[in-house]
């Protein structure tokens, strides 16, 4: 299970993408994981800005709020 203070990212990448990340990291003088984290973050942000996706998510969470709140936690 992921921990609150986790800093390492483990993600399998296809070799071509890994190479591109490596190249960007070298050019910008940053670590590959830093570049990868930034790329992932920006894609997540893009998804959050998708109005349909966000509207649906808000509707889902609002409709099932009580049920979700009552779910037991397994951790």
């Amino acid at each position: 299970m992921a921990k609150e203070a986790t800093k390492n990212i483990l993600l399998r990448l296809d070799p071509e993408l890994a190479e591109r990340l490596q190249a960007v990291a070298e050019v910008e003088g940053r670590s590959v994981s830093d570049v990868a984290r930034e790329a992932i973050t920006s894609l997540v942000e893009h998804r959050r800005n998708d109005a349909r996706f966000s509207l649906l998510l808000e509707e889902n969470l609002a409709r099932h709020e009580q049920s979700l709140r009552r779910l037991r936690q397994d951790d």
């Binding site: 986790t6 998510l57 099932h64 979700l68």
Partner: protein, 348 residues
């Protein structure tokens, strides 16, 4: 079927945990999530929402990839998968869900059981303007109009948005509606266009020739152009004039033909279609389909009283032919989706 990707899941994590994307990334075991997501797109789950939902729920609960309320996030992710596929998941009674997820956590619930539970709790939602994400693009009068669209015509509207996005256009023009009709492939309009030897690939090539590709994929909703809105209004008028209760893909194509000047109409002409011939073919097809429907309903005076045995035989032949035809269309659509998921252009 719409599948989730890693970024969709992380967006749900960020929302449920009220944190920013970076924090959501840090609090998630990305590898575990990617692994579970890859299992939801296996051939078994490809076209089965319950199967994909069950695999997703089971995987996220058993592997616990989220540092935080893992179970809540896992269920929210499955709710989002259902919602994106115009379905909803019944969570009540929540105690039963909890009991199942407890057993999933301890490795005691086989995946088939989770899939079964998801299947029984999935409910199809009625397609609405809101679920199509079109509510802020059209005025109230038009909103009434969309409610009259057949399910297939609504799917065309969704595909039109995707066509615009794929071509990196920040508007939905008549050309995107035409491409969506062809892409959807199963409606009367697509069949008429197929009879005229107009394929999706050929139409897309002409559209690109006329308007080109945009420079950047638009984010969020894409608005209809005034002309494409007019085409949709024409489609409503066509349906009303023909005495039809709903707007189908054939009415949309009639709207394109009536407009006559948009990129869609230009594309049809460039592909050798005579617009009056398109109209004629649609009407002809509508008459044929109405006659078949009438016949199947037993209202055909020429057959009913005289030859009941023959009618019965013809009816079953006709019904199986129609079923077979519909199944073939569905199979073709599924195959096209699969090819596209593997980055293969189905029209190439």
């Amino acid at each position: 079927m719409h599948h989730l990707d890693l970024y969709d899941v992380l967006a749900v994590v960020a929302r449920v945990m009220h944190c920013d994307p970076e924090s959501a990334v840090r609090r998630t075991d990305l590898d575990a999530v990617a692994q579970v997501l890859s299992e939801t797109t296996s051939p078994l789950c490809q076209d089965d929402l319950a199967e994909a939902g069950g695999v997703l729920l089971s995987g996220l609960v058993s592997r616990r990839p989220f540092a935080g309320p893992n179970r809540t996030i896992a269920v929210a992710v499955v709710l989002q998968l259902a919602g994106l596929n115009n379905a909803d998941l019944e969570l009540e009674p929540v105690e039963e869900v909890d009991a199942l997820l407890d057993r999933v956590s301890s490795g005691q619930a086989p995946i088939a059981e989770v899939i079964d539970v998801v299947r029984h709790r999935l409910k199809c939602r009625e397609l609405t303007i809101s679920s199509l994400g079109l509510e802020d693009q059209i005025n109230p009068e038009e909103s009434d109009m969309f409610e009259k669209f057949t399910e297939r015509a609504r799917r065309v509207m969704v595909l039109a948005q995707e066509e615009a996005r794929n071509l990196q256009h920040n508007y939905i023009g008549t050309e995107h509606v035409l491409l969506a009709i062809l892409e959807e492939g199963g409606g009367t309009a697509a069949k008429v266009l197929a009879n005229l030897n107009i394929s999706t690939a050929a139409a897309r090539a002409v559209v690109l020739e006329i308007v080109g590709r945009g420079e950047q994929a638009p984010a969020g909703h894409i608005p209809f152009t005034p002309r494409s809105k007019r085409v949709l209004e024409y489609s409503l008028r066509e349906a009303v004039q023909l005495g039809h209760q709903n707007i189908g893909t054939e009415h949309i194509l009639l709207g394109i033909v009536q407009d006559g000047e948009g990129v869609a109409a230009q594309t049809l002409v460039k592909l050798g279609a005579d617009l009056s011939k398109v109209r004629q073919l649609i009407r002809h097809r509508q008459h044929s389909e109405a006659a078949v429907t009438e016949f199947l309903a037993g209202d055909s005076g020429s057959f009913t009283p005289k030859m009941p045995a023959r009618k019965h035989h013809l009816l079953s032949e006709l019904e199986s032919l129609i079923d077979e035809n519909n199944q073939l269309y569905d199979q073709v659509r599924r195959l096209r989706e699969k090819l596209r998921q593997h980055n293969i252009d189905p029209d190439d």
